[in-house]
């Protein structure tokens, strides 16, 4: 089934909504192939925005370009603008390392370092010059509390991160990301490798994090998108076909492709 890529609906945010980050005609190329075709999306502050769509629709690629992780992929090129506090993050004079501490990321598979829980969380703060033990201790506690992991690991902070379960590892990765107190948290299918109970724990964590962070999450799980997100963007074939409030996307989508996707006609 082929859908017209010109048939699009992008809802404008209400006038009083505060923007955390937005893109303007963002295109991603791998070699000569254009994987994302000019996506312009707004992301409201302290809200969760879900990016949904079939495999290969470009949603992960789009997400990874927001903190310039695509820079690390040989042969990739990103054009267009990423607007953040009056700056274009896609411009070459942006310090990507400083930028990434403000725009954190959590990956699909839990990827803790082969270090202790404590060292995993303090990894980034130490890289940025924080060595005071008391400050680091506090940071570890607040980050683990933020990721709803503190109670489970507070007695084993110096144990290897690999001793944790998959769900705990993923929450550790979230704790590690929020230890830098980023503005925006990008999450690339953070629960797809987890069992339902761990998934529930991670989702609960996200709803709590929303109070302090703007979250953009790629998910294959439509119930998850419906449960946790305020806005949903539907990606199809490298294009964002529809962006709207989540309840509208799941009840009254304006685009046929979105309707077919959320009602399970293809995936």
């Amino acid at each position: 089934m082929a859908y017209s890529l010109d048939d699009r609906f992008i809802r404008e945010l209400s006038a009083d909504a505060e923007l955390a980050i937005s893109t303007d005609d963002l295109r991603v190329f791998y070699g000569d192939k254009e994987a994302v075709h000019g996506v312009s999306l707004p992301f409201e502050r302290y809200k969760i925005t879900s990016l949904i769509g079939p495999s290969g629709s470009g949603k992960s690629t789009f997400l990874r370009s927001l903190n310039r992780m695509n820079d690390t992929v040989a042969g990739s090129r990103v054009t267009g603008q990423i607007n953040y506090r009056g700056l274009d993050l896609n411009s070459p004079d942006i310090d990507v390392y400083e930028m990434r501490r403000r725009i954190g990321m959590v990956f699909q598979r839990p990827n803790p370092f082969a270090k202790s829980i404590y060292d995993n969380i303090t990894f980034a703060p130490r890289r940025f010059g924080e060595h005071d033990k008391q400050t680091l201790d506090e940071l570890v506690e607040t980050s683990l509390r933020g990721a709803a992991l503190w109670d489970e690991v507070k007695d084993n902070l110096h144990k290897s991160a690999f001793a944790l379960s998959g769900g705990q590892q993923q929450r550790l990765c979230i704790a590690r990301a929020i230890a830098m107190q980023p503005d925006v948290l990008l999450m690339d299918e953070p629960a797809s490798a987890l069992d339902p109970i761990s998934t529930a724990a991670v989702e609960e964590t996200m709803l709590k994090l929303k109070e302090h962070y703007t979250i953009i999450i790629v998910t294959h799980n439509m119930q998850q998108a419906a449960r946790i997100s305020d806005y949903t963007a539907f990606f199809y074939s490298g294009q964002c076909l529809e962006f709207d409030e989540t309840r509208r996307i799941f009840t009254r989508p304006k685009i046929t492709a979105t309707d077919d996707y959320v009602s399970g006609h293809f995936g």
Binding site: M69, F107, F128
Partner: protein, 308 residues
């Protein structure tokens, strides 16, 4: 098919079951042959090597701690002069020094080839390293003899032969081994570790130093131990540059010897079954035990690394 036919088919061995059985037997025999060969070598060397201490006045302690090596002669109290400490010192000296020298170069080269410029690494450096592995050791020895030894002689004085010359030659010989094993260790670090580090705002250097090298440490250590095993066992190239004097080395540029160099230069000049000959077998046993120790070390590091 009636029930009887089915029963017959299910209870008798089919053609493929027989073939499978035959295959199993053949592969087991192959393994058995290798195991037997290894045990036979061990037993042979052990029997010969231990004979040095049986019915003679030579004790194991004397063998390992005395510094006079003159097979065929005895000291004032009639004990044969079989002190292997100079060779043991020489062997460990060249091994440790060359590993110490090679490790930073190997890690540097491997980091360049995997993290910094994989394209260049794959096109130019990998073939160079493969080539270095393939050069016969006599060529290394010859270059050592005609370049390294005169260089040391002119720079530091003395004859130029000694542990330093041996170290330089072994350094070049084990560098490719350690480098290529370090490369595999770095390549085995999952990309998601690098991504995790970069996504936290760490720079490329911080990522390499704090994440990639850290998690590759067991693999790198294994590479170093393999290099040391190679250095410890290398005979020809070392023999050509070390000076072959079974004396306790006074410094890095005085003529010395290793277990292997004494073995290769002495084994043809002794009579099978004599004490002099047995003493050489004892050196061989020592070498064998050391390579066993290196192997166990590699396994131990591997196990420790796997648990994390």
């Amino acid at each position: 098919m009636n029930n009887d036919e089915i029963k017959a088919a299910l209870t008798s061995k089919s053609r493929s079951a027989k073939l499978e059985r035959r295959g199993k037997i053949i592969s087991f025999l192959c393994i058995a042959l290798i195991v037997i060969a290894v045990f036979a070598i061990f037993a042979f060397v052990a029997v010969r090597g231990i004979a040095t201490f049986v019915g003679t006045k030579v004790t194991l302690w004397n063998f390992l701690s005395k510094t006079a090596w003159a097979p065929g002669t005895t000291d004032a109290s009639g004990v044969p002069k079989l002190g292997a400490l100079p060779m043991i010192t020489g062997s460990f000296g060249v091994t440790l020094l060359s590993a110490l020298l090679a490790t930073p170069f190997a890690i540097g080269a491997a980091v360049y080839m995997t993290e910094i410029s994989p394209k260049w690494g794959e096109k130019i450096l990998q073939p160079v390293i493969d080539l270095l592995v393939g050069i016969p050791s006599v060529v290394y020895g010859f270059i050592g003899l005609s370049v390294v030894v005169p260089f040391i002689r002119n720079t530091f004085g003395g004859t130029g032969f000694g542990i330093l010359a041996g170290t330089f030659v072994l350094f070049v010989m084990i560098l490719p081994t350690v480098t290529s094993m370090t490369i595999s260790a770095l390549k085995a670090v999952p990309r998601r570790y690098r991504e995790a580090s970069l996504a936290l705002g760490a720079t490329r250097w911080q990522t390499i130093y704090k994440v990639v090298l850290r998690s590759a440490t067991p693999g790198i250590l294994t590479g170093i131990v393999f290099g040391m095993a190679r250095a410890f066992g290398e005979a020809l190239a070392v023999q050509m540059v070390i000076g072959n004097a079974a004396l306790m080395p006074k410094n890095l540029i005085s003529p010395a010897s290793t277990l292997t160099s004494v073995l290769t230069s002495g084994i043809g000049n002794t009579v099978m079954g004599s004490l002099e000959n047995n003493a050489l077998w004892t050196l061989a046993l020592l070498l064998l035990l050391m390579s066993l120790a290196f192997n166990l070390l590699v396994r131990w590091i591997g196990n420790k690394g796997a648990m994390k």
